[in-house]
Subunit: 416 residues, 3 copies
């Protein structure tokens, strides 16, 4: 009887853990809607269909690609070449053990795949916003497929799949580097290969191109914050009450402090509190806490969020000054604050210390080097073959008509 109790109690815990992970999966899924509305809201109404199309098809392509190849690249049975690469074969599937706690105490094989697949697709979505309003649709789809299917899983494996960064001591709880800076580097190289939108920088001046529908952007940021409950909360990989609830607290306090930091900075700097900056402050706080959400005290998480909120405002301004045209601020949020958040693990919290800070820097640099070089190669090949940018005429008239022959708001008069 005793051994039966032991088994049943363990099974119950497995069921609870798996339930939390499925809930977290649903939350990470909804981040894709968050990215869709955020990016659509912060760009022009003539490119809305195009942005929405990209953000609708990315999770679809992402999940299918991850099922075919990505999951088995990221979590191979064995790594070779000193933890640089590994692959367990095409397709997904499991035996009976895969749906019991002998697979993992926290989730089934299926939950594992779906949770990780939802993560993978977010990396491409980060790129989507930065390259908006001038990239060819087909080029973006080709890029995203390889980005989600190959590049993201390879660097993901380096840490989460048991690769060399994991062995080194690099720490990235939920992906400040593995997800956000990976997406951010891909965004940066994309923007460099594409160049700025027509009319953005002329005669040494910066011309702001405002977003067309700010309520959409707000919906996006709130859904992203909600999704981060699953992104960080699910990264505990079980329903552990203390750890998950601490992570939700540090995550929410960092988001809050990020909003306050960006509000205060923009208010001082521009004399008016800027809503877009404040929204990016929320995201900055979230990205900043992601690498160490399980290591921080509430007070440290507020500090990290505040700093991230300040950083993001200056990053947006600086990228604009050096003519890196990122319509939604994705590079500032995901790359800059992703790096900051990764380094923060060595500065605050349980693992703080110079040695850890060094490991964190190694992780940032090696992953950055790999993603910059591999995505640059991809953008280069795309540019030389199918082409990377829409025609000047199409950019003027909008990608909605050019790429899709549709309008997002056909019954409303636009400002001419």
């Amino acid at each position: 009887m005793d051994s039966q109790f032991t088994t049943e109690i363990a099974n119950n815990l497995f069921t609870i853990n798996n339930l939390w992970m499925m809930f977290a999966t649903a939350l990470v899924f909804i981040m894709h809607l968050g990215f869709a509305t955020l990016e659509a809201g912060l760009t022009q109404s003539k490119n809305t269909i195009n942005i929405l199309f990209k953000n609708s098809i990315i999770p679809a392509i992402g999940l299918v690609t991850y099922a075919i190849i990505g999951f088995n690249l990221m979590y191979p049975a064995d790594c070779i070449l000193g933890g640089l690469i590994g692959f367990s074969g095409f397709g997904i599937g499991t035996d009976a053990a895969g749906v019991t706690n002998s697979y993992n105490i926290g989730y089934t094989y299926w939950t594992d795949f779906l949770f990780q697949g939802m993560f993978a697709a977010t990396a491409a979505t980060i790129v989507s916003g930065a390259v908006a309003e001038r990239i060819r649709l087909s080029s973006f789809i080709i890029f995203s497929t390889f980005f989600v299917g190959i590049i993201y899983p390879i660097t993901g494996m380096w840490k989460w799949g048991g690769g060399f960064l994991n062995n080194l001591g690099f720490y990235d709880f939920a992906g400040s580097t593995l997800v956000h800076s990976v997406g951010g580097w891909g965004a940066l190289t994309g923007v460099i290969f594409l160049g700025p939108r027509i009319g953005k920088y002329m005669k040494g001046k910066i011309y702001p191109i405002p977003g067309h529908n700010i309520p959409l952007a707000v919906i996006g940021v709130f859904l992203l914050w909600l999704g981060w409950f699953g992104f960080n909360g699910g990264s505990v990989l079980s329903a552990d009450p203390g750890l998950v609830s601490l992570v939700l607290v540090t995550t929410s306090l960092a988001a809050s402090a990020g909003a306050i930091g960006a509000m205060a900075t923009s208010w001082s700097f521009f004399k008016k509190p800027d809503l877009t900056m404040t929204l990016n402050g929320i995201l900055a706080g979230l990205v900043g806490i992601t690498a160490g959400a399980d290591l921080m005290t509430p007070f440290s998480s507020i500090i990290i969020g505040l700093i991230a909120g300040v950083i993001v405002v200056f990053a947006v301004i600086i990228f604009d000054r050096i003519k890196i045209d990122d319509p939604v601020g994705a590079i500032s949020v995901h790359l800059v604050c992703g790096i900051f958040g990764t380094l923060a693990v060595g500065i605050w919290g349980e693992k703080a210390g110079l040695e850890q800070l060094f490991y964190q820097a190694i992780g940032v640099l090696t992953i950055g080097a790999f993603v910059v070089s591999s995505t640059s190669l991809m953008w280069f090949i795309i540019k030389k073959t199918v082409g990377i940018r829409v025609s000047q005429e199409e950019e003027y008239s909008g990608l909605d008509i050019g790429e899709h022959a549709m309008e997002a708001y056909p019954y409303f008069e636009k400002v001419s």
Copy 2:
């Protein structure tokens, strides 16, 4: 002591299962917002208030009606007439046993009611989109009340309430037929009784009437995908780790493949990738997998989703050619793909086989025959009494002013 452990362990499992079912209930609830924004987005701005009104009042009327009569029609204690009908009396309520695992190992009586009630209301919401932009509000409310309160529970009982289709061997895991095609048949008869919108088909030509706010439609589709985590995931009727997580994987892969199938088809056919078609492809994949989400391998779910995504594009085109004017494509998505998904159970997955395919066809046909005849009778009576369609003037000027004396966007200039 041992028997106490046994009880406590079972109680814990019951609490976990019930928690998952409540979460699934919340997700199915949010599908109503998904339908509201999808249908509003895909129709004209002069009819937006009216669509939103219908979609806001349907879950309200649906839940109250289901509490008064529907739940007890769908899950009667005993069926009579060979499993054709049954009724346990008006109203809902339970004794102490209803909140323990002696009621059901997976959920309490209250959770059972609410989960099923949220399902029931979706059937009417499916009709809402197809009959949009010309149906009288009062007529639609009358129809919906009877549809949710009487028609849906009767056919639902045939399978899920232990009726004759269940005894026969018909299989419908989460309602490709019991929910989606039921809604789809009601939509089809409604469209036939109403006729097309003025100006849609003139002199042998088809005039497209584009949706007014595509971001709303995208929000709708993502919320529906999210809701399907509860719709299909909750249809396991417990938190069983392996089964629920498999269902989430097959559901998400089918949705993804549906998007890809519809994108590819529309891209080939129209030379441009169509966002609306791609969104309907997601829904097509979801409806298509619903009948057998627990029976399929990941690979089969991708195949089913892909085919559903292709089918939905052609269905939309064909219905337009035969002048079935369905503003949002609800009949193509829910009826056509609902039938396809039901038959798919006999073609792919654990139950595949000619005998099963035959049972599936029987289910499709008997439920189709009942819903077509009963809803036709209802539309006929409504047409002859209160009237079914708004006046020509009201249709021109919009139902928002005509039915509600309100505008959805009073501060924006409309294209004249």
Copy 3:
């Protein structure tokens, strides 16, 4: 072995309970997006950025303030002055016991803080809508900080923190009074100190100022309904299957009946079914059931919802007649229906009785007296120092330009 089983079984239950509470926390969080879109949708397009800014920064300020002071004011270790006040010191944090069931059987210390913090911020959000379109941003931020950090926790403590109303026998399950009427009283005093919007009441006539984007309002109401699953369902403070699922049923039926009540009332009264009123009817039903959601039968919850739905329509009309200009109907929904819901505990359900009704009235009155006097003092000080209202020019041209130098929809032509 036996004692180990006992511990493990209890730990599993703790993990389940905490999981439910974290889910409820996520749902209450999403209410902030609901308030943001509801309030933005029901106001003019020239004030949209401002509303969205307020609703984005409130949860941020609310959570940080609650971490610094509010949580320890609301749940002090000891109350003094006969249960009127208490304080456990600044900041949050816990020892190892705080993440086990020795803290509470239902949740960890961290979950407790975050769930309660999400609640706290909603109180300020209620005020936001009522004072919209003419309050200075900085004044509102100052007010909200004190409101969430000091006033809300003090009255919250009176009941939920073990203060004098709790000892008296006052009952408020999830906050019809402690959250909704507290927010409502703050809204009422704010509106009185501010005065009506320019042009609302002229020469004895009432000029309606319609909302600019009704789909946003619908999104808001559905998200609020969804959030109420956590607001009320989480107020059980565990995952108790019977109690939580009953609460979800009474909550949803009251919301549904509220919609039907408001639809019917507006249809009779205005000859057309009013969408805004129906949406407010849903919220009215939700607020109305909140104080006794765990005490009611399904039938009683329908009655309470119906009455609340009728009340809210008349309340909106009456407040307009007495020139209390509340752009979104927040006072009618949260204050009037909050009082009704609190009294309903003495009229229907398990605790019904004259004695209970008396306790309920005492709670309504003492909390009302405290919030009216304390918020009046705050508004008075704000008015005399930084100023409470924007200039007439700014009100005409819109707070978006005046307070933020931004537009919500820069590419769309507005009606001039």
